[in-house]
């Protein structure tokens, strides 16, 4: 794989994970457990969709086949999507919603932090902006994990269940493939070993404070999102997200 190919692939991964998690969070609009939570969830979703747009715009320039950011987001099928499997998992109860957010936020925070020092200036610029937002996301989701984990008997039980359900999707966050390695070697993407170490360190720290037990490091993990092999959920997300753009292609006025 050439560095140019890896870069396009890597940008799509960053964009798609932001986009899909943002879309998942938007499903809670009008249905969140409290007004403050609704505002927070929609704010986080908005940040993620905005970041996705920045990554898509850069990806579109490099792919250079006439597709713009919107076409990359709304006209690709599930097997072309490169998002992490974790981000497409359903919202379920609030423990799962916040557990998913927390695992992603830790990964996102350390990834972006490293990308601010990327040898690719455009990436460093987008990441510097996104990191400020991701820091707030992580602060909030880690607080929720602690509050629920170290809360009542029921909140603890449900938060632990959420950790157990989601754990199988976390391996993908910190297991590098060829693309990740090419990016790291070029000084564009994060060092995979450091990312894994940072992710485990913070996850363990927060889960310990939350009186929760992480899964085993050698647990069997679902992988494949980065290569377009998704769980059954992604197709449904895209069907809803892409409906309008597919039904009225190239419409300029809604």
């Amino acid at each position: 794989m050439t560095q140019a190919e890896a870069l396009k692939e890597y940008l799509l991964r960053l964009a798609d994970s932001d986009m899909i998690l943002g879309q998942r969070l938007c499903e809670l609009c009008g249905k969140a457990p409290a007004l403050e939570e609704e505002m927070a969830l929609m704010n986080v979703a908005l940040d993620l969709v905005g970041q996705a747009r920045n990554w898509y715009e850069y990806a579109a320039e490099l792919i250079d086949d006439g597709r713009d950011a919107d076409k990359l987001a709304f006209r690709r099928d599930a097997h072309d999507y490169r998002n992490l499997l974790l981000t497409e998992q359903p919202n379920e109860d609030y423990a799962v919603t916040m557990g998913r957010q927390f695992f992603f936020d830790v990964y996102h925070y350390f990834t972006l932090k490293s990308l601010t020092e990327s040898s690719d200036e455009r990436i460093a610029g987008i990441a510097a902006k996104a990191l400020k937002e991701a820091t707030y996301h992580l602060r909030r989701s880690s607080e929720w994990v602690k509050r629920l984990g170290d809360g009542t008997e029921e909140s603890h039980r449900r938060m632990q269940e959420a950790i157990d359900i989601l754990w199988r999707f976390t391996g993908e966050l910190i297991t590098p493939d060829d693309t990740d390695r090419v990016m790291a070697e070029a000084g564009i993407g994060p060092d995979p070993d450091q990312l894994a170490k940072d992710w485990r360190g913070m996850v363990n720290e927060v889960l310990t404070q939350a009186t929760l037990t992480p899964g085993a490091e050698d647990a069997w993990m679902y992988m494949g999102g980065k290569h377009g092999e998704h769980t059954e959920h992604l197709g449904f997300i895209l069907a809803e997200m892409q409906f309008l753009q597919r039904a009225y292609p190239d419409a300029t006025t809604w």
Partner: protein
């Protein structure tokens, strides 16, 4: 129903309408960069109309050579939905002053920070009922305690955070335990 418009003809119409807005007697060629900055001071943030886009630090640079005008702007948050509207408002204000074809350039680097909000802007935020950002963005702790924020209504520091996220991307929601009023806090980033 959405219209399947031809984007080229549409933009031509846009330009025609826009050029109609330019006053016939305007002499933008007589204006200096300082005048343009003063003009932009009149453009308010659509979500926080108490402060201008200059006071918020959204306008980063003005390039004017007597013929071509281009303005560098930076979004506050990656997904700030007001970004496009702000660019339109700036364009409109410039056209009203006689600039036929002002260019707006979006710059992401360096990333916007609340440190760029002017002292005057901070005072205006407070008068508007929004607590301005406290301290420097570089000192923000990751997992630590939230900062102590003074109530913009009564000045009390006995306040509590209700939500890290408020009515817009840039604000958090607080409550004053002294005067019992809720208030927005302009988050430090």
């Amino acid at each position: 129903m959405p219209q399947h418009g031809d984007s080229d003809s549409r933009s031509a119409v846009d330009i025609l309408i826009a050029s109609d807005r330019v006053p016939a007697n305007a002499r933008p060629d007589l204006l200096t960069e300082d005048d343009i900055w003063a003009l932009l001071e009149e453009v308010k943030d659509p979500e926080v109309p108490a402060v201008s886009v200059v006071e918020l630090g959204i306008v980063r640079a003005v390039h004017w050579d007597g013929k071509e005008l281009s303005i560098d702007v930076t979004p506050t948050y990656s997904g700030c939905p007001a970004t496009e509207l702000i660019e339109e408002l700036i364009t409109e204000a410039l056209r009203a002053a006689g600039f036929r074809d002002p260019k707006i350039k979006q710059v992401l680097t360096p990333a916007w920070t609340t440190d760029w909000i002017t002292d005057e802007g901070k005072e205006k935020l407070r008068a508007f009922g929004i607590a301005p950002p406290e301290g420097s963005s570089s000192k923000m702790s990751l997992l630590g305690e939230p900062e102590v924020i003074a109530c913009p209504h009564c000045g009390s520091k006995d306040t509590e955070r209700v939500s890290e996220f408020g009515s817009t991307a840039c604000k958090a929601l607080y409550r004053c335990k002294e005067c019992l009023e809720p208030f927005d806090y302009f988050k430090c980033i």
